[in-house]
């Protein structure tokens, strides 16, 4: 009936396909302070954000480039008062509009406006099913009650809902209840994602890494829930890299499916790519999106397989997982061309695994909460290795 990749698609760009998705980080402002936030430590200030007109032009260029789905993210995208205007504009270009939100501080009237503008799918984060745990992780009072009310309001308007559950050592033991909560909310999907250790999460790694026993239990929970809830709830599961045997196919390949635009207009193959030294990211303020996607050095740097070293170069899985994540190879192996240390074929793998086991069994240090000031304060370098 359908296939993951189009056949006979345009080959006018030397075999490079257009992106299917655009991740629009509309703002880095957010009422929550989650210590695993995927935003960079150096958060973009409000005064540096793209204007309404600039974002509309980005969406125009994205539609012409071949982007099909728009992921409106942040920070907290509803912090932008022009969100409904941006959604209406994106829909006028037939872009599919997905909102990725914390779900706090959004009135029913605002939600009505977003739906009227053409919003099509909502992903709401749930930090924990335990109210105190939720507040502690989010660094925000009464977060859970507000999130649940918002999620119910989304379903009451007939929109499909996905619950985003980021899991780690402080909430993993309540995974069953998170899945039950998603079901009770009428969600179609739950994304159970183990923390990925970049940016804030890397700085908080020793506080967040689950033990191997916790991880194994979570695998069993997901497996059983998938069996029992088949046809009722889809469970997407992202394993923690440090305990993996094979790396994740990061971004489905560098510059292959997704294009990311930061709040200040920098265009990146993924939201963490700034950790790779020497990569220069063009800005939508200076260059058209299509030229950046097809021609920029940053997007071509790790496309295909020619850049690979051994053991990736001759690996039968090189076009399945693309050697894993370039940012993680940089952060953990000190070389963005290296095999992602999540892969057991990486010479760094055993060291990373030992580190995960040691950190996860030690008492957790306090969180470094995500704030503008904390991200810009001088600190000890993250314990990369």
């Amino acid at each position: 009936m359908s296939m993951p990749q189009p056949e006979g698609a345009s080959r006018t760009h030397g075999g490079i396909e257009p992106p299917v998705g655009l991740l629009a980080e509309l703002t880095h402002r957010c009422p929550l302070q989650c210590p695993y936030c995927s935003n960079p430590l150096a958060l973009v200030r409000r005064s540096e954000e793209l204007s309404t007109a600039e974002w509309k032009r980005v969406f125009d260029e994205a539609a012409e480039l071949g982007v099909l789905q728009l992921h409106l993210s942040g920070g907290e995208p509803t912090a932008r008062p022009d969100l409904e205007e941006l959604i209406a504009h994106a829909r006028s270009r037939e872009l599919y509009c997905n909102l990725i939100t914390a779900g706090v501080g959004i009135s029913e009237a605002r939600l009505d406006a977003l739906v009227a503008a053409g919003l099509e799918h909502v992903q709401v984060s749930i930090q924990d099913v335990d109210p105190e745990g939720c507040d502690r992780i989010a660094g925000y009072p009464d977060a859970l009650r507000k999130k649940l009310a918002f999620a119910r309001a989304v379903r009451a308007r007939g929109l499909p809902l996905t619950v985003n559950a980021v899991v780690h050592r402080h909430n993993l033991d309540r995974l069953e209840r998170m899945i039950e909560l998603a079901l009770e909310l009428g969600a179609d999907r739950i994304e159970v994602a183990h923390v990925q250790y970049y940016g804030w999460a890397l700085a908080n790694r020793a506080a967040l890494l689950p033990t191997r026993a916790q991880l194994e239990r979570s695998l069993a929970v997901v497996e059983r829930a998938r069996r029992e809830l088949e046809g009722r709830l889809v469970i997407d599961f992202v394993i923690p890299d440090y305990y993996a045997r094979r790396p994740k196919p990061c971004m489905n390949g560098w510059g292959r499916a997704v294009i990311t635009v930061s709040p200040d207009g920098r265009v990146m193959p993924c939201h963490a790519a700034h950790v790779i030294p020497g990569l220069v990211f063009a800005n939508v303020r200076d260059e058209p999106l299509a030229r950046i996607w097809y021609e920029s050095e940053a997007f071509n740097r790790f496309r295909g397989t020619a850049w690979m070293k051994e053991p990736c170069r001759s690996c039968p899985r090189r076009e399945i997982d693309f050697g894993g994540c370039r940012c993680q190879a940089m952060l953990l192996a000190g070389d963005p061309e290296a095999t992602d240390p999540a892969c057991e074929l990486s010479p760094e793998h055993a060291r990373i695994l030992a580190l995960a086991e040691a950190e996860s069994q030690a008492p957790p240090p306090p969180f470094l909460y995500r704030t503008l000031a904390a991200g810009r304060a001088p600190r000890e370098p993250a314990p990369a290795a």
Binding site: M1, S2, M3, P4, Q5, P6, E7, G8, A9, S10, P18, V20, G21, E64, L65, G66, L68, Q69, E94, Y96, N98, E120, H121, G158, L159, P160, T162, D188, R189, G231, R232, V234, D236
Partner: protein, 103 residues
């Protein structure tokens, strides 16, 4: 899910079929998914009205349009809609009961 011709099929909220001029083909957009449906799937999806219709009516329309044996068309349409329902890309109702959620 086993479908029969009495089932009512309807578009699912959050799932949208559109033509993509860049790739020169139809795309089916759903939460966190982009699918590239075959021409037969496109034809059937385009025939499902916003308020839904019975599979029998879809089959009647196709049999008339293509002057083909109704039985053959019914078999293909049921198989295809069954797959779309399994993939959560359409809604299916039967006997005033939404079996989509209970399946």
């Amino acid at each position: 899910m086993i479908l029969d011709e009495a089932c009512v099929v309807a578009p699912k909220p959050g799932v949208r079929l559109r033509f993509d001029p860049v790739r020169g083909r139809h795309v089916l957009l759903a939460p966190e998914r982009v699918l590239f449906p075959c021409p037969t799937t496109v034809e059937i999806l385009e025939r499902i009205p916003p308020g839904g219709t019975t599979i029998a009516r879809l089959v009647d329309g196709l049999a008339q349009e293509y002057d083909a044996a109704r039985e053959t068309i019914a078999e293909d349409v049921l198989a295809l809609l069954g797959q779309l329902a399994k993939d959560r890309l359409i809604r299916v109702e039967r006997e005033d009961r939404d079996v989509d959620a209970a399946a």
